[in-house]
Assembly symmetry: C2
Homo-oligomer: 325 residues x 2
């Protein structure tokens, strides 16, 4: 898959606008936070889009809602299924509950019991499988064969990407004159959505992905011009271990998105800064954006930068600075 790939099935900006209207009654229009201290420290004007305050505690609810609402009536009645141990599972579960349709979530046996309880709390049927990708897929296939449920992929899905793009759309409405957006990259759904929005604007909008150095497949793939797979990605940012896919890679390439890798120590320091200065709980995956800005300040000096704080589901019983110091 290359930049020229004409067949990548990616959403148009109209689909992001349609998604915003469709999911509007379900989602929170999350606030934008600023901090004089962090502005002084970074030399830029930073605008934090607080998707940690989104329903379910993460932006994933946007894409999941859009995908669930896009199902036709018959498809919806058969329910939805996904395999995830994290925020996407909660997003799908809540979206299905709101549409009053069945949701099946396949989770590995070693998944965090708190996250399992959260997903079950939203009313989804939780199916436990062996902790391998093969077992997950096989379990999903069995559920589809049995129920006819529709798979909602966490990012390799046109409607999910359109839904994630609504966060960038809102941010641009909320803050005048932004010139840069920095978003974390895991599978690339959030940044891909931002790419779709950016490509339709008259004013240029620079797109930068932030990625843990231990899971930097997007950075390597953009450099190589083809998807590079990393075996066993390792990072505290558990939401960013997923690999990019052809669909999201194509969008990043077409829109000349850049990627800044950051170290684990930089992620932890940035997370701590957000907790102390913004008084907001964010999970490690959200902290990569500030970490990227602080790692390469020359690229942001004097700019008006939107940073997506993607989620707030941190494990407050196991804080990274207590393990590492």
């Amino acid at each position: 898959m290359t930049a020229e790939c004409p067949s990548a099935d990616v959403p148009a900006v109209q689909e992001v606008h349609a998604a915003a209207e469709r999911i509007g009654p379900w989602i929170h229009r999350t606030p934008v936070f600023t901090s004089r201290t962090l502005d002084e420290f970074s030399g830029a004007s930073l605008f934090f889009k607080c998707e940690n305050l989104q329903r379910t505690g993460a932006f994933k609810f946007r894409g999941a809602s859009n995908a669930v609402l896009c199902l036709d009536r018959d498809g919806a009645a058969r329910g939805v299924v996904t395999h995830s141990s994290g925020n996407h599972a909660a997003g799908v579960a809540l979206a299905a509950r709101l549409r009053r349709i069945p949701a099946h979530v396949v989770m590995p046996a070693n998944a965090n019991p708190v996250k399992r309880a959260a997903v079950a709390g939203y009313g989804a049927s939780v199916h436990t499988c062996e902790p391998t990708m093969q077992a997950r897929r096989s379990c999903v296939e069995q559920i589809i064969a049995k129920t006819g449920a529709t798979l909602i992929h966490p990012y390799d899905d046109r409607n999910v990407i359109a839904g994630q793009g609504t966060a960038t759309l809102e941010l641009l409405e909320q803050v005048d004159g932004l010139d840069t957006i920095v978003a974390p990259i895991g599978g690339g759904g959030m940044l891909s959505g931002a790419c779709v929005v950016a490509s339709s604007r008259a004013e240029p909008l620079r797109l930068i992905g932030a990625q843990p150095a231990g899971a930097d497949d997007a950075a390597r793939s953009l450099a190589a011009g083809r998807i590079i797979v990393i075996d066993n990605p390792s990072t505290i940012a558990d939401g960013l271990r997923a690999p990019i896919c052809e669909r999201t890679f194509a969008l990043l390439q077409r829109n000349a998105a850049a990627v800044i890798p950051v170290t684990e120590a930089q992620i932890i320091d940035a997370m701590r800064m957000v907790w102390e200065r913004l008084k907001l709980i964010i999970e490690p995956s959200s902290a990569v954006t500030l970490a990227a800005v602080l790692r390469e300040p020359d690229r942001f000096a004097g700019c008006r930068v939107g940073l997506i704080l993607t989620g707030g589901n941190a494990d407050i019983d196991n804080l990274p600075w207590q393990q590492s110091r």
Copy 2:
């Protein structure tokens, strides 16, 4: 001091309105957060006034700003002084910096070095003394004798109380139809300010203080009809160990404020709930309000309740649930 005391030097509601105008350019108009989950859990509609997002991370900046701005030019030029190891010190330090006047903060030798650094970071001169109240007062007197600085008391001060009242004024503008305000009580400045605002309204507004059971001098004093002093108050809510004074006690009495004492375990559980559900960092002193609502749900069922989240300066290296579980 009793309810009839005519001489208590307390602010009128006009002074709270004047304070709001005076400090308006300096303070943040803090947002109000809500949570469906906490509403369902409590059986009430809860509106959290986020003074943890105030400048310096606490509401204390409101009262300190008002007191600093009320000084005449000569008095201001001589500077201000306070003794505190917490949020009031930071509030006075920042207010003085903004008015470009000297600030002296007397802190005990055993004060938290992080808080000391924060106060120094706002440009105040930090004076270290022995960790006794006698030593603190004596150090303050020496500074006043030497510099002519004005003492800004954290709550036994008409202008400080008027400043704290602006938080309630804002909250009533932001949320329609509130019938109850719940605020923490330490020295009583915040709740006294709420009393002043409530007493001028046509609609009744119930005022409830929340207090740690280990520092429940306000509850005991209201029951006894006179100030009861507690020796060595003990609670994790370090902002609420200060004793009420005649001025704040008179306001609580006149306005029939009630007090709900809460246990340490209830404070910790409520703090955790705010962290997990609202994704907001609050310090233990802020958590007593939700703890009070959850302790006596029958008193709040079906009500529209404003809760003041007074501060966010938690020690994120020492979380109470990690010590106690």
